[in-house]
Amino acid sequence: MLMALVLHENDNVATALRPLNSGDGVGVEAAGNVIKIPLRQPIPFGHKFALRDIKAGERIIKYGETIGQATAGIKQGEHVHVHNVEGLRGRGDRP
């Protein structure tokens, strides 16, 4: 059974298909190749982790589309969620 899923070859995040532990080496299939991502943090079921290092301000890509932007640098294998990603749409809090 798959542990995590990458939806599009341009994606920089994967989705955990079961609760994953810190230190797990998770094999994910990206663009036809299986790569092993060492997890730096536990990843809850359904949550995302970084497939590669992502710089602050860089776009987060899932389904091959932009889902938001990193608010801090994210290392490969780190949890990617509301603590380090913001949405770019519907931002009434911004001028």
């Binding site: 359904g46 899932k62 932009t66 889902i67 938001g68 009434g92």
Partner: protein
Amino acid sequence: MNFMGYRRKNGSVGTRNHVLVFPTVICASSVAEMISRAVPGTVSVTHPHGCGHLGEEKAHIIRAMAGFCRHPNVAGVLLVGLGCELITPELIAGEIAGAGQKIEVLSIQAEGGTTAAVAKGRALAAGLMEEAAMAKSEPADISELIIGTNCGGSDTLSGLTANPAVGVAADMLIAGGGTVFLSETPELIGAENVLCRRAADDGVAGRIREITAATEALAKKAGVDIRTSEPSPGNIEGGLTTLEEKSLGAVLKGGTSTVRQVVAYAERPEEKGLVIMDSPAHDAVCNTGMIAGGAQVIVFTTGRGTPLGAPIAPVIKVSSNSGIYERMKENIDINAGEILDGKEKIQSVGERIFREIIEVVSGRLTKAEILGHREFAIHSLGLNV
């Protein structure tokens, strides 16, 4: 392909044969409920509307009320008013005349109060039930079906399992000549590129961008990050990080067909095939709008679990993961979580959902119907005094 439905006088086909007791104003809500309780088999709704609506709001509420009351799933309707309201039973009766329902009207003030109105309403509703009982279902082509799609209590699995599986079923219905509503405008924000690539023409693409921009402007007007509401706290706990992410998963339930038309809330489409309805994402508001726009069945995906139903149309619930299916089995009809468990493919679950839709529109009760879920809410534009 055929299903078994109730053909109404105007040619439309119902998947249910309800007698509806409908208050046209909040002041008649309790009387409508009392009448419905006294006549088993009838259904009633409550809502806060019917008075104080200004301009566009009045037309918007009337469209939703009339769409609901003239729905082919309604065999007969008793419209209950107070007597001094803006939206009267007579007004709605005029809007829906000719659709084929047997219509009765009742005014609480004219009857002289609650007790007399309930007594008269009970007799009228019983008469409607007698008439409805004469209706017989007959074969009808699936091209006469409109399916509404909705997702509520989503998690990140919704976009990986349940929504794409519903998308397979949506494509199958459209291939058979039917119509599918994709709705919940906030959950199109961020997915415009995906949808506009599939728009029938530039006009449709322009309308898609127009409705998402209008909804995005609401967050700007409120001065907040839309993430304070969308994704919801439960969505975020389930792993959805931004609205864009939620949207890209949400639009998968509309399948892969060409977007033929964009309609207003509760508006009936002129086109067949995939149609986008401009509606809030609020689950009950969205279901009510799609039903008022003619949907005879709703397919509803959920990751966190929801019991939601609707008063006059069946709601088929599809779970995105096996955990929630096991915990809330009494509320969920189909589990798409088996895709993750490696037991099934998106395609085969989609085909199963399609078969379930045909069974349900032919009369099989959904879990929401069996448990008595009849949530109902009409969208307001907020132009009230």
